[in-house]
């Protein structure tokens, strides 16, 4: 492979992997605390992709303003989903499988809702960046992807700071080790869970906005997070850092494989590799072993 193709593919992979990493972290945050696979995250992504389109097209066509609005909106959607479909069953002490079922149902509901109401049209975001690529030698670097990568990096650093250094972050981490004990120490667990859903929702908002802006919005845009979920699994469901590394890795491997062996074979190779990886290391790259998983 010639060097310029190699460097270009590496960059393609990292920018794609950045999105997977964002998705993996949004997904992993909830798994960390409630120990179930939250597929409704794809619903948040889809809702926010449409929301971002409508505000940037009809309310205020400014990138930063609409980006922040969508992020916050995503957070509230996350909280609303928790209050509507997870809290009631949690208070009843429902088994984890029911959480899983509810999360899948919510994802399907959102998808079908958009297919039925907005599925008939196309929703291209306004063009925020006029010149589309920067040139470094033979390398063509798209401004959108640089922006995407930059945002991903900032968001992940911010998240790390919150989790490691703030009171709420410490409470979140405490709840992720054991959800019952913190309540004995005077921590409001309901509130902590809401915060987790707000943060995951905000990440979903960012993901939806970036996906919508880079590609195009359709009712099935949420299914793009499947790769993020895979990254979360490879990374180890409990580890956010592992999810980020796995997301980037997945993006890079995918780019090189598609270029060399074609898109159809790539998926077969990747999914087989995941099987093998999980056989050798069921806890993922960085994860801890969990007894209960759903």
């Amino acid at each position: 492979m010639d060097t310029s193709v190699f460097v270009q593919q590496l960059f393609n992979g990292i920018s794609l992997g950045g999105v997977y990493a964002l998705e993996a972290v949004g997904f992993g945050l909830i798994f960390n605390i409630l120990k179930f696979s939250n597929f409704s995250h794809s619903g948040v992504v889809a809702i926010c992709a449409y929301f971002g389109f409508f505000v940037s097209k009809y309310v205020y066509p400014n990138f930063i303003v609409t980006f922040v609005m969508t992020t916050l909106f995503g957070g509230f959607v996350g909280v609303a989903i928790e209050k509507l479909i997870f809290r009631p069953i949690r208070l009843k002490g429902a088994p984890l499988t029911l959480f899983l079922v509810n999360s899948i149902t919510a994802a399907m509901l959102v998808q079908q809702f958009f297919a039925a109401t907005l599925g008939a049209d196309y929703y291209p975001y306004p063009v925020f960046l006029k010149q589309t690529s920067l040139h470094i030698g033979t390398l063509a670097v798209s401004k959108t992807y640089v922006l995407m990568l930059g945002i991903t990096a900032v968001v992940l650093l911010l998240l790390t700071y919150i989790l490691k250094r703030t009171k709420i972050g410490i409470a979140l981490r405490a709840a992720s080790t054991d959800i019952r004990t913190p309540s004995l120490m005077g921590i409001n667990v309901d509130f902590i869970i809401s915060v987790a859903f707000f943060m995951a929702g905000a990440l979903g908002g960012i993901t939806g906005y970036l996906l919508g802006m880079t590609y195009s919005v359709d009712p099935f845009i949420g299914s793009m997070i499947l790769k993020g979920i895979i990254a979360a699994i490879i990374g180890g469901m409990g580890s956010l850092g592992g999810g980020v590394v796995a997301g980037l890795l997945l993006g890079v491997v995918e780019s090189f494989l598609i270029g060399e062996i074609g898109a159809s074979l790539t998926q077969i190779v990747i999914y087989s590799a995941i099987f093998v990886l999980l056989l050798i290391r069921p806890e993922g790259i960085a994860g801890k072993r969990y007894v209960i998983k759903a």
Partner: protein, 392 residues
């Protein structure tokens, strides 16, 4: 006594049945439509329905045919082959329609085709995949299409022919010699177009530098486009649906690809809206050009009815349902078999898009020409009206 009673009952039933069928014969003629009113191809589906309803409205206002009104029964098949089969079956079994106008999605056509052959109610559609009307069609031997499905009809140039249009134009008018393709095998429409393009390019002795695939649902093609950029072909053929084409165009521009983009008929509106200036410089074939003066009457009529300009499949809807209704009129019958026979023998049906002469061996139209259009910025310009490619 008992015998007499049962005889009376039978007699009464017979009267009921006969008046029932008489009533049916005097009621409206039911025509089935299944179209994608939701899902990725929803805009096309809605446009075809609008075009066809306008035709039916006009026919009904003029008194209908054989003294009966036309009643369309429309189901949404949601861009899904299973839903398409369900809708067709329901139209035939429950609604008892005499003919069906189907979705233009090739994957749906492929699923409905064998069902139609069994249920024997003719279906007219725009599925470009050759295998919908000729199930044994071989990719490597397009000259011998094999047996025809008696109940399926296509009213536009098939995928191979449409890809010949743009390949021929690129070779003869743009002087190109090397090509690459970006397509998806998960969509039979895209797949057949790519295979047809490759076949034509090779037959004309030109070079196919590489065919790159992507998977259903993929939105990022930078890995493929990076490889294509390194191969540096003169023409890059991108024959997919609108969102994929738009993503490919945007990413090709972002990677600074120099090849001229060549498209399929899905590069028409709403591509200008979805891809914007990223589509600049691309050429593609289309059944119509709104610059064609002969279309003005229809455009005005449609605009008046729906307060919007007709898109490609608004024209399709009008032509397809017109073809179907003409067949009923010519057959002077609602017997599906007779309608089918008339369809198979149709010559010189004057649609707004062009004149349809059905080839009874393939159930596809012969000699339909296409226009070649080009993106200049985010504007679509007509480059050539009524183009037909050179023979191989």
């Amino acid at each position: 006594m008992k015998k007499k009673l049962s005889a009376t009952v039978i007699f009464l039933i017979m009267i009921l049945v006969s008046t029932g069928s008489l009533l049916a014969a005097e009621g409206p003629i039911k025509i089935g439509i299944y179209a994608d009113l939701s899902g990725g191809s929803a805009q096309w589906g809605n446009d075809t329905v609008k075009g066809s309803k306008l035709y039916i409205k006009e026919i009904n206002a003029a008194g209908g045919i054989m003294g009966r009104k036309i009643e369309p029964i429309v189901y949404d098949c949601k861009m899904s082959p299973t839903e398409g089969v369900k809708a067709y079956t329901r139209l035939v079994n429950e609604d008892r329609v005499c003919a069906v106008y189907g979705s233009l999605v090739s994957n749906i056509g492929l699923a409905v085709s064998p069902v139609a052959e069994k249920m024997r109610i003719p279906v007219v559609a725009r599925c470009m995949d050759e295998r919908v009307t000729t199930p044994d069609f071989k990719l490597e031997d397009p000259e011998n299409p094999g047996r025809v499905n008696p109940y399926c009809f296509l009213l536009q140039p098939s995928s191979y022919l449409q890809s010949y249009m743009i390949a021929g134009f690129a070779i003869d008018e743009l002087g190109m010699n090397t090509f690459a393709m970006l397509y998806t095998p998960s969509n039979s429409y895209s797949y057949m177009l790519a295979k047809g393009f490759e076949y034509y390019v090779k037959k004309r002795g030109k070079k196919m530098a590489g065919g790159f695939e992507f998977q259903a649902g993929d939105m990022d093609y930078k890995a493929q486009l990076t490889k294509i950029k390194a191969l540096n072909p003169e023409g890059l053929y991108i024959p997919n649906y609108v969102p994929e084409n738009a993503n490919a165009a945007k990413q090709a521009k972002e990677l600074d690809l120099k090849s001229t983009m060549l498209g399929n008929n899905s590069w028409y509106e709403p591509m200008d809206k979805v891809a914007g200036v990223a589509a600049d410089g691309a050429y593609f074939p289309l059944n119509i050009s709104r610059d064609d003066p002969s279309l003005k009457v229809f455009i005005d009529k449609y605009n008046k009815e729906y307060n919007e300009l007709p898109r490609l499949h608004s024209f399709s809807g009008w032509d397809d349902i017109g073809f179907l209704i003409e067949a009923i009129k010519k057959a002077q019958s609602t017997d599906p078999q007779k309608i089918r026979d008339t369809m198979a023998a149709t010559t010189k049906y004057e649609g707004v898009i062009g004149t349809i002469n059905i080839d009874p061996k393939t159930h596809r139209p012969v000699g339909l020409k296409m226009s070649i259009l080009k993106f200049e910025g985010d504007q679509i310009k007509t480059i050539k009206l009524k183009y037909y490619p050179k023979d191989m």
